[in-house]
Structures are given as structure tokens and as C-alpha cells.
């Protein structure tokens, strides 16, 4: 499972970081950075994708 974040769409809500802190982090530019490109396929990452308010996270 590959994770991709569109940093233009991201508004830095931190919703993904709350759900999967090992995979996502809002960085000093106020947008999300992916900490693990290929995390384990788990519910937290999928929740982060579905709960992102701007649909900025994609799974490949």
C-alpha cells in the first residue's frame, strides 16, 4: 500500500496525524508529510484517507 499526499490540497487539519501518527505529520510548512511511504495496510491509515477533509490523501 502506497500513500500519497497532495500538499496543495492539504489544509493541515491534522486529522490524519491524530489517527495514524506513525504515518502522517503536519510539518513546519503547515502541510502533511508522509513519514512512511508504504505503511502496513491498517484501518487507521484507511480512516485517515476517508476522514481527510480535503481529500488530500490517496492510496496507490
Amino acid at each position: 500500500m502506497r500513500v500519497h499526499v497532495d500538499r496543495e490540497l492539504c489544509v493541515g487539519s491534522g486529522a490524519c496525524e491524530m489517527l495514524a501518527p506513525d504515518v502522517f505529520e503536519v510539518d513546519d510548512d503547515g502541510a502533511v508529510q508522509v513519514l512512511q511511504d508504504e505503511p502496513d495496510d491498517d484501518a487507521a491509515v484507511r480512516d485517515a484517507v476517508s476522514q481527510c477533509p480535503t481529500g488530500a490523501i490517496a492510496l496507490g
Binding site: E17, E25, D27, A31, D47, P53
Partner: protein, 430 residues
């Protein structure tokens, strides 16, 4: 357990008597209002209402009340079709003079919104907020200790709003911004006025427009002073970060900083306050849920999410159509207004199993208490969540004897689901 807390009586609601623009309607018992929204959601999902009259502001064309979760999400996630720039926090279009103080990013569209949001979100990341958590714990501990002292001096009596729910978020946000102690009572009073919904008790003798303008000017003046001080003498606070932060070489203008400051003070204050006060009221109405949560700190996360779903501290935000179109079979034309009723979406049975049940372990809980999909999702959601988790856990530990003793005094506002007072006592039975 009371009927108010549990069984909404659908038959008691005459939809023709429901006027969401009538401020007094919002002081009716919550169960009645939820029953009305259940009916609206089922029978008139885009119900049309006339706008209320406010002296000095011409009445607009009216609005549609969006009450189904799916419709609300569809509108919220298409910001180009349903914009915020013509006003997001008022039923009326915002008069130019108010826009100066209240035209913050909440009432802005991209690309300007995206740019400012980015400048701000840099200073508001979860990581930066984690660093402030220790001070949040200290503040909560101190406020609860004072509440105990107040109770002991007054035969056990406290007011949940004045003694617990109001001081915690006020001190947290003022600490973060670096607002001096001497300015804080003024901040609380002005923030009350801004979110009063025109409630006469809170705005004093002034007409609402004058009261809003005066409150805005006073807060802008405070921010001007603070911003100038921080530019000259930087400190480790949010105000310093804001005056120095830039994106693509661009900094916030003076007016943008003042508007954002007002947004933070108001949004960071009142919403969390009402989540605390109404959360405690709700827990008193659902004693089994209270006992379950108090006994199990692993429920802090889901418990807080359920409080936010249940309370929906901000009742709605507005969007305005920029073009003709159709949503869920409802045709609309450019300029039509939509009020997104988060409180109604948060009890939509299509999304939430047994939505009228308060369940501190509810999971998943995709509530829209911090807003739905789209770029305007609450900037302070992370702060609010952590602050509320710390607060409720501390209350369970330090004030296990807290007992609500009287009916709440509800704010007469369509916009903010607020309490003005909530009588309680600390019985000393710990």
C-alpha cells in the same frame, strides 16, 4: 432520567410552527429541537426560511436549511460552487463595516483562503500543540482547584459555566497568544458579545450592530498593540509566530492578523466552553455513560468525539451558491443561501446508529462537529480535542462529586449552542 434528555416526541412538533430564524426557538428544550430537525431531515431536507430582521441590516432573500448528512457533505466539499466569501457565520450578507473585523479566513474563498490558512496552520500544527499540553494540564488543574474553593466558600454551589467551562479555554488561548492577564476580562466580555447571537443579556443596552462593532474594534486594538510588541520583542507565543510567519514571501497584513486573532479568541473560546458545559450537562443526564467514561481513561478519545457530536457547539455555517445547479435533486440558482445544520447531520440515522443515544464509546463517529469535508474544516480541532480530553479526565478525577442541580440557562442563539449558566454543586462525596 428526564424526557428532555432521551425521548424526542415527534408528534409534539408542528413543522409549520418551526422558524429557525427565531432566536427564541433556540431556547426550547433540545429534545424538541432534535425532533423538529428529525422531521425536517425526513420531510423537508432543503426547507426554506426567511432571514430574521436585524436593525441596520437589510433582510436578504432567505436560506435553505440543509439537514441531511450527505447533502451537507456534498455542499461543503464543493467550495467553488458553494462559497464562504459572502458570509459564513451570518444569515445576512456581512455589512462592509463588520467585514473589517470579522472577515477572517472562515468567510474567505481560495486562493486567498488557502494562502492565509497555510500561514496560520504552520503555527498551529499538532506537534506544536502537543508542546502546550503541559500548560493546558496546569491550567485545568488550577481552574478545578479554584472551583473547589468556590464551592467550599458557598455551601457547595458552583456555576459550571463561570467556574469551569469559561476559564479553561480562555486561559489556554490567551496563554497561547500571549495576552496579558489584565486584558483577559475584556477578551471574555467581547468574545461573549461576538457570539451572543444578539442575546440581549450579553450585549447590554446597545443594539447588536453597535455592540459587534465596538467589540471588534476593542479586540483589534488589543491585537495591534500585541503585534507591535512582539515585532519589537519576540517571545515564544503564537502571536510572535503569526507576525513573523510567511508563505511565498508574503506575511499577514495587519488587518488579517487582527481578524485572525478575533477568530481564534472567539472560536477557540466559546466553542470549547460550550462543549465542556454541555458535555457535563449531558453526562448528568446519562449517569451510566458518565460512570463508564470516568472509570476508563481509554474512552477519553471516543468520549470527547461523542460530546462534540452530541453538542455540536457551532450549529451551522453558511454557504452561498456561485452558480445554478442541482444537489440531491434539489435545483438551485446562483445567490441562493444554504445553512449547513451540523447538529442535524450529527443525528442523521443514515450515518449514526441509534443517533439519539449518547454513547461515549461510539466508534466510528464521523461527526461534523468540526465541520464537514472541504477546506474550512476547523483549524483548532486538534487543540479542542486534546483540551477536552484533558479537561474531562481531570474533572472525573478532581471533581467526582460534581452534581448538576438546576436547569441550564440557554443562550438565545441560532448559531452557537451555548449555555450561559449551569447550576451545580460539589457535594464533598468523593
Amino acid at each position: 432520567m428526564t424526557i428532555e434528555a432521551h425521548g424526542p416526541d415527534l408528534d409534539a412538533v408542528d413543522l409549520n410552527g418551526v422558524d429557525l430564524s427565531d432566536r427564541d426557538w433556540w431556547t426550547t428544550p433540545p429534545a424538541y429541537r432534535h425532533a423538529a430537525f428529525d422531521r425536517l431531515r425526513r420531510e423537508r431536507p432543503f426547507a426554506f426560511f426567511a432571514e430574521p430582521e436585524i436593525p441596520g441590516i437589510p433582510a436578504g432573500p432567505g436560506y435553505h436549511a440543509v439537514t441531511r448528512y450527505a447533502d451537507l457533505e456534498a455542499i461543503s466539499s464543493q467550495p467553488a460552487v458553494f462559497c464562504s466569501g459572502r458570509g459564513a457565520v451570518s444569515m445576512q450578507d456581512v455589512p462592509a463595516e463588520l467585514h473589517e473585523f470579522y472577515g477572517s479566513l472562515i468567510s474567505m474563498d481560495d486562493p486567498r483562503h488557502a494562502k492565509i490558512r497555510r500561514i496560520v496552520s504552520k503555527t498551529f500544527t499538532p506537534r506544536m500543540l502537543e508542546r502546550t499540553l503541559d500548560s493546558v494540564r496546569t491550567i485545568v488543574d488550577d481552574v478545578l482547584t479554584r472551583a473547589r474553593a468556590t464551592a467550599e466558600a458557598d455551601d457547595g454551589a458552583i456555576d459550571v459555566v463561570a467556574d469551569i467551562a469559561a476559564p479553561i479555554p480562555l486561559r489556554v488561548i490567551c496563554d497561547m497568544m500571549g495576552v496579558p492577564e489584565a486584558d483577559r476580562p475584556g477578551v471574555l466580555a467581547n468574545s461573549n458579545i461576538v457570539l451572543s447571537g444578539g442575546d440581549p443579556e450579553l450585549i447590554g443596552g446597545d443594539d447588536p450592530l453597535t455592540a459587534f462593532l465596538t467589540a471588534g474594534m476593542e479586540m483589534a486594538a488589543l491585537m495591534e498593540r500585541l503585534a507591535a510588541e512582539r515585532l519589537a520583542d519576540p517571545r515564544d507565543d503564537l502571536t510572535t509566530a503569526l507576525v513573523r510567519s510567511e508563505v511565498d514571501g508574503e506575511r499577514l497584513t495587519h488587518q488579517e492578523i487582527a481578524s485572525f486573532f478575533i477568530l481564534l479568541l472567539v472560536a477557540g473560546n466559546e466553542t470549547t466552553r460550550n462543549a465542556i458545559s454541555q458535555g457535563l450537562l449531558t453526562l448528568s443526564e446519562w449517569p451510566q455513560e458518565r460512570a463508564r467514561w470516568a472509570a476508563d481513561p481509554s474512552l477519553d478519545r471516543t468520549g470527547v468525539e461523542e460530546v462534540v457530536r452530541w453538542v455540536s457547539p457551532v450549529t451551522w455555517m453558511r454557504r452561498t451558491a456561485t452558480q445554478d445547479g442541482e444537489v440531491a435533486g434539489h435545483r438551485f440558482t446562483a445567490g441562493e443561501k444554504f445553512l449547513l445544520f451540523y447538529n442535524a447531520a450529527n443525528r442523521d440515522p443514515e450515518v449514526f446508529a441509534d443517533p439519539q443515544r449518547f454513547d461515549v464509546g461510539r466508534d466510528p463517529n464521523p461527526h461534523v462537529g468540526f465541520g464537514s469535508k472541504g477546506p474550512h474544516f476547523c483549524l483548532g480541532a486538534h487543540l479542542a480535542r486534546r483540551e477536552l480530553q484533558v479537561t474531562f479526565r481531570a474533572i472525573f478525577e478532581q471533581l467526582p462529586d460534581l452534581e448538576v442541580t438546576g436547569p441550564p440557562h440557554r443562550l438565545a442563539s441560532a448559531f452557537v449552542n451555548g449555555l450561559k449558566r449551569l447550576p451545580a454543586r460539589l457535594g464533598g462525596d468523593r
